[in-house]
Subunit: 360 residues, 2 copies
């Protein structure tokens, strides 16, 4: 039996991909590339190659429980960790850690978002294995830092130091998303890496970190420590989860802990956070249009658009359009400039206000 566990975090709303992602159907459930598997399912498939299926947990908001069961029928119901309210990543990870600790107090855990794209799977699995081995031997909070391929302003960065344990370097700082000037300096320095949001640790190491750095959370979960992995867990979590502070694991623990180590990796990673990132990654036609989801499309004098139509019978004819997003899904058609996609949240809010919740 292995001590290796995996926690896939799949509770986000992903409103930046509206109208494809909806509050009732967030982006992790979407099959953006028309491969037949959603981002969540692809994440599961990857981990299932090196982690026993019974050791894979999926944390999500309880509103998505039905969708989760539908997309991951391989898992038992108790492998879904249901969050009764939205409280960012720290409470989510605390919950997962307490549950896994109750199952196996020697567990080494990899925690990963459900909506990332990874193109070089073999390298990825090799690196994950390395990190799991590392945290079994070292009381470290490990993370994977992605070698930057461009001066990306949409990601946070991790600065490493020259202090090393094996291939792992001690992390100096975590940074916010930089502006373009700074991103260029970061990339050239060779010292800064993209923060993948993927974490690896032994369950004892992370529980100690919670005790020390986020006692508000650990004190509350300690109240029910003996209830995890029993039939009383659900009621306990329902009662206490909402009282946890709304805080990310990055801010609450990783930026403050003194035992954070990073493995520098390069496995074709992308956080599909925006239509723009999707555009960068997708295959393009000869006019640099990214046409997703096997959309039937005819383009004329149209360049550098993202065209995503979630309707198998629909034909889209586009003429004279440049640098736009054309996305249709369900009851919404969105046509907006690629450069202005940060306004989508506003569009969703306006749509809901003016036309009702069914457009959210």
């Amino acid at each position: 039996m292995t001590d290796n566990y995996c926690v896939i975090m799949g509770g986000g709303i992903g409103s930046r991909f509206w109208p494809f992602s909806r509050e009732s159907y967030p982006k992790q459930f979407l099959d953006f590339f028309g491969t037949g598997r959603s981002l969540l399912q692809m994440t599961f498939d990857r981990f299932a190659k090196i982690i026993p299926v019974e050791n894979i947990y999926v944390a999500t908001n309880e509103a998505y429980f039905d969708l989760m069961k539908l997309q991951l029928p391989e898992l038992n119901e108790n492998q879904f960790l249901l969050e009764p309210s939205r409280r960012n990543t720290a409470p989510c990870i605390a919950y997962a850690s307490y549950r896994i600790n109750a199952c196996n107090p020697n567990a080494n855990i990899i925690v990963a978002p459900s909506d990332h794209l990874i193109l070089k799977e073999e390298e990825f699995l090799h690196d994950v294995q390395k990190a799991l081995d590392f945290v079994r031997e070292n009381k470290a909070l490990a993370t994977l830092g992605i070698k930057p391929s461009r001066p990306e302003t949409g990601y946070g960065y991790i600065q490493n130091s020259d202090k090393m344990i094996g291939e792992f370097t001690k992390v100096k700082t975590f940074t916010e998303k930089p502006n373009l000037e700074i991103a260029k300096v970061f990339q050239q320095s060779g010292e800064f890496f993209w923060n993948s949001g993927i974490f690896i640790w032994n369950v004892n190491t992370i529980l100690e970190a919670f005790s020390k750095l986020l006692p508000d959370i650990s004190v509350r979960f300690d109240l029910g420590k003996h209830l995890f992995n029993t039939d009383k867990e659900r009621a306990f979590v329902k009662e206490h989860f909402a009282y946890c502070p709304n805080i990310s694991i990055d801010y609450g623990i990783m930026e403050k802990a003194d035992n954070v180590y990073m493995l520098c990796v390069d496995f074709g990673w992308a956080d599909l956070g925006t239509w723009g990132s999707l555009y960068d990654l997708a295959n393009k036609d000869e006019n640099e249009n990214a046409i997703l989801k096997n959309t039937k499309v005819l383009t004329y004098e149209s360049f550098r658009n993202v065209i995503a139509i979630d309707n198998p019978g629909r034909l889209v004819v586009i003429e004279g359009l440049e640098d736009f997003i054309v996305a249709e899904s369900g009851n919404v058609l969105l046509i907006c400039k690629k450069d202005d996609e940060q306004r989508i949240k506003q569009f969703v809010a306006d749509a809901q206000l003016k036309f009702g919740k069914e457009y959210k």
Copy 2:
């Protein structure tokens, strides 16, 4: 009993309004303005105010018979004149003339397209009445010439003379669509009027004109003269119609006859021939977007677009778009520059070739 009759021509395909108009559902059947009545129905409603319903005939391609019956349940089946093949307006009008002649050899007939917009109905009806009275007294082929309100290059023009009978002026020439320079001269001259394609004549006058100017057609129809308005008409027309030359009434008769008279009118007329003409006529929002069919739409920094979505539940969000057509109907979404709409025919042909007849 009145001798006044009306023929509504409703056999066109109207492919320039794709994807709203389809070969299986041409534009005369569409309710562009969301009023609850199609262009055809509005045409019928107008004439029904001054012509007895039993004297109203609708000529159409037999492919549209079911649609016609659905939209005009007020008519008996024998009031639909079914063309077995597409032969332009001259054979269509000949058929209607022979039928009406068999019913009433004193008939005065107004012939009008089914897809025109008329904003000032009272003036229109007044002018039609005037023209029907005129052709009862005079062996004239009358037409209505629209006072040009702008140097329109999308219409043909009629030049009048100073020879008059009452309010009617003798027509000097019919012209093709002019370029902008010439259209400006036409408008300023006061001598040129838009060709409305609306004709008024006594049945004997038009039958004589066919005999004289289009004997190919009249000789053929004369063969079955005694069969019109009997149960043998259908079979006769089916057998002979396809042999008629494909020719317009304008080219075949109006441009050649020496008894053509025009009444100068001004009743808010428009031939809804293109998205552009629809744009010109439609109500606009404060950014000059024309939003048709009660489309639910949110626009941001978008100007002078035509937005037409034939889907009651659909919300469209448009940002940063200027001078485009955004039209969605059935299985097609079209986004193209307003100035390039003459390419739509090509889009339809390409769509059919690449994706199949269901997109035609």
